[in-house]
């Protein structure tokens, strides 16, 4: 039984760019300041801070949460860093939720930060060290390889064409044209995706989100505090997360069962029995275009193999029946790992507050949205639902 309601009363984010001049601390500060300003609060109002940031290897800073906490307003506060790989961005506000829901704190500033650019020659090299040192690293395997395997398996299981998957990249990059922080917004076609550089078949350049620097933040508060600062808070009504076995080779990659388990945890809390009907839109994790489809099915927003069809029919367009990634997602806005997931949570907040501007879905009548992220070795699902 959940003991206290938790509201979101402010959000902010920096530009997402391939290489930002600001340090990680400065990025954290900027996002935190924007979130506080938007809530009409100052750091004095904050009792606890949760920092989300993915591999220390990106920034080259050991104990990165400690490094970031001064920028994120953590001095003199109860400061926690939480971490579930790529799932961290959505997991950070999940942790903020339990800080407030527990009754131990009335306010929590949650900050997602990632600065991937310090790593040379390319941030991908940080991922070398996520693989098993005995069985996988000697193969010289990269993330692109294993995601190509997963994409291929998904295509095979449901007889999905590369062109069907490319529609996701086209949609999300187009949506991102309306996002002021977007890094790789573009008006492209399926042919552009198909003709883009082959990376590891079937993954092509435009199937993939870019490496990015950036930060995003939100303010979580108890119901009592929320009523002091706003008349229309947005509530977090469901959280869920799940971590499957590290041995990804031992499961059928066509379906993210761990995500279904995480989603069911959140849906149970939010009393959602039919997510497709009871949710109005979703910010689904899309580091690759096929992942949006894969995750829609894991989230039970589409039947197995149905997501490409819904995409083709325009259901997931911003003006469709069930908008998916109206922000532009990672494919359009950018992918500073932990900040990218936080960006999705910020987007759900802005949508439900009616502050999403040209990105607004359903004529500002959306009542409920979902944010989701994914990570580790294709084994983590993190889910958060919000309503107004």
């Amino acid at each position: 039984m959940i003991k206290r309601r938790v509201a979101v009363v402010g959000a902010g984010m920096t530009l997402f760019r391939r290489r930002m001049l600001e340090t990680g601390r400065e990025l954290s500060y900027e996002a935190s300041k924007m979130a506080l300003d938007s809530a009409g609060m100052t750091l004095k109002d904050i009792e606890s801070v949760v920092i989300g940031t993915a591999p220390d290897a990106f920034d080259g800073v050991h104990m990165k949460g400690e490094y970031l906490l001064e920028g994120a307003g953590g001095i003199g506060k109860a400061n926690s860093r939480v971490y579930v790989g790529g799932g961290t961005g959505v997991f950070t506000p999940v942790a903020g939720w339990w800080h407030v829901a527990s009754g131990l704190f009335d306010t929590c500033l949650v900050v997602g930060e990632e600065k991937m650019s310090p790593l040379h020659p390319h941030p991908q090299s940080a991922f070398w060290s996520i693989f098993d040192h005995t069985t996988e690293r000697p193969l010289g395997v990269t993330l692109l390889w294993i995601f190509a395997l997963e994409m291929r398996r998904y295509m095979h299981a449901h007889n999905v064409k590369e062109e069907d998957i490319a529609l996701v990249a086209v949609k999300n990059k187009m949506n991102a044209l309306d996002h002021p922080c977007a890094q790789v917004a573009a008006r492209i076609t399926v042919d552009d995706v198909m003709n883009s550089e082959k990376m590891v078949w079937p993954v092509k350049r435009y199937d993939v989100s870019p490496p990015s620097d950036g930060a995003a933040a939100a303010i979580l508060v108890s119901e009592e505090v929320a009523r002091k600062f706003t008349d229309d808070p947005v509530w977090i009504d469901g959280v869920g997360w799940n971590v499957d076995s590290q041995y990804w080779t031992n499961r059928d990659l066509y379906y993210p069962a761990y995500l279904e388990t995480a989603a069911k945890m959140a849906y149970k809390m939010a009393k959602i029995e039919n997510p497709r009907r009871q949710l109005d839109f979703a910010e689904v994790y899309d580091p690759f275009d096929y992942k949006e489809l894969h995750h829609m099915e894991g989230l039970l927003l589409a039947k197995k193999g149905e997501a490409p069809k819904l995409t083709k029919e325009g259901v997931t367009q911003r003006n469709g029946d069930f908008p998916v990634n109206p922000s532009g997602g990672l494919l359009g806005v950018g992918n500073p790992i932990a900040a990218a997931g936080m960006m999705k949570v910020c987007e759900v907040y802005w949508q439900l507050k009616g502050e999403a501007g040209r990105r607004q879905v359903k004529g500002n009548k959306a009542e409920r949205g979902l944010a989701q992220a994914w990570g580790d070795l294709m084994q983590v699902g993190t889910v958060l639902t919000m309503k107004r």
């Binding site: 104990m63 109860a78 579930v84």
Partner: protein, 378 residues
């Protein structure tokens, strides 16, 4: 800020290792052994009874980016809610408590371990924790930063090497009786002085040597414990806090993180003063840190003197990190373990008679000014 009205306790603990080098177990095997023993101690089935899992790990110590990915299989958490809280285990304990208080779990597993001997160049890893733009380019090692803080601490409080020697010698001696201690010794102050200098005024023996261990604790709500007839060690208060490190303008004498977290934990527990405790486990990663931490907790000079004289609560009865070893991310969970064993009368030769209540105080290590406090009772 609310109090901890709903009681939560530790219903089981397991550990493995506590040696300078564990050559016969991999990291994963170490975690498995500790978890198996904890589940046995708590009489639980991790696949049925546990609602969530928290591990306290840092990527660079593990040599593994995104360390949480390799945790679930070893501790029975595959397909379950698991996360990393990269911090000392008192912060992890706080998050575990919040899992239960928020209603998302009734039973939570907390894991931390040290496989420090696998790290070829620990100094290089520690340097990577320094702020990269201004501090790291100065080229100071963590020990050099500690030495400067030790100097500032001694100057600002009046503690001298004799005071530090007294604490160090007694800690090493107590550790001789602790079966988990690798560095117990019967030393004289002259031997401490003669053991050499790391960076003045920090001597070689002022630094806790590294050791390896895996520890798992099982937490449960009081209602779960009652329903299932367990006898918990209660967590009456827990808090964690960050302050400015000395090189960013923080205080040398009073560790702000220690004082702040202690006062909040005491407030949650409804207690005042160090005399409330039978046992105090202070972070003593460096010998002077134990005295700095005590100085930060004490409400008066008289209380500080009384506790240090040995007439009050027992301080680090198992020898602390100076005797057992620096267990990196597992240092704080080791202190929690020592208190759990004391309060359940399982501490063996280092048992403090009649111990009913204990304080654990933790620190994240150089270059952090982050730490926590937990109040345990039975």
């Amino acid at each position: 800020m609310a109090d901890m009205a709903d009681r939560i306790g530790i219903i089981g603990a397991g550990y493995e290792g506590f040696r300078p080098v564990i050559s016969d177990l991999s990291t994963r095997e170490l975690m498995f052994e500790a978890a198996s023993k904890a589940y046995d101690d708590a009489s639980i089935d991790p696949r049925k009874d546990v609602g969530s899992y928290i591990c306290c790990t840092e990527d660079f110590w593990e040599g593994w980016s995104i360390t949480d990915e390799m945790v679930p299989d070893q501790i029975g958490a595959a397909g379950r809610p698991l996360c990393t809280v990269p911090a000392d285990a008192v912060t992890g304990l706080g998050n575990a408590v919040m899992h239960i208080l928020s209603g998302i779990a009734e039973v939570v597993v907390l894991e931390a371990h040290s496989k420090s001997a696998d790290v070829i160049d620990k100094d290089a890893v520690e340097r990577l924790a320094q702020e990269p733009t201004i501090i790291r380019p100065l080229g100071a090692s963590s020990d050099a930063l500690a030495a400067l803080e030790m100097d500032g601490f001694m100057r600002s409080t009046g503690y001298d090497h004799d005071d530090i020697n007294d604490f160090l010698v007694s800690s090493k001696k107590r550790a001789l009786k602790n079966t988990r201690a690798s560095y117990g010794a019967d030393l004289s102050a002259e031997e401490v002085e003669g053991a050499g200098m790391i960076s003045s005024p920090l001597r070689r023996l002022d630094k806790a040597p590294f050791a390896e261990a895996g520890v798992v604790l099982v937490l449960a709500s009081e209602s779960w414990a009652k329903r299932n007839k367990r006898d918990p060690v209660f967590i009456d208060g827990v808090a964690w806090s960050s302050s400015l490190p000395w090189f960013d303008g923080g205080d040398f004498g009073v560790a702000g993180y220690a004082r702040d977290s202690y006062l909040k934990a005491m407030n949650r527990a409804g207690l005042k003063g160090l005399d409330s405790f039978d046992i105090i486990e202070l972070d003593d990663t460096y010998s002077y840190k134990a005295l700095q931490h005590l100085h930060s907790l004490a409400k008066s000079a008289a209380e500080e003197t009384r506790v240090l004289s040995g007439t009050g609560p027992a301080i680090n009865p198992g020898g602390g990190s100076l005797g057992v070893g620096n267990l990196l991310e597992a240092s704080a969970i080791h202190r929690l373990l020592e208190c759990y064993l004391q309060l359940t009368r399982k501490a063996g030769p280092v048992q403090v008679k009649g111990a009913e209540r204990a304080l654990v105080q933790s620190w994240g290590g150089i270059p952090t000014a982050t730490g926590g406090a937990a109040v345990l009772s039975r």
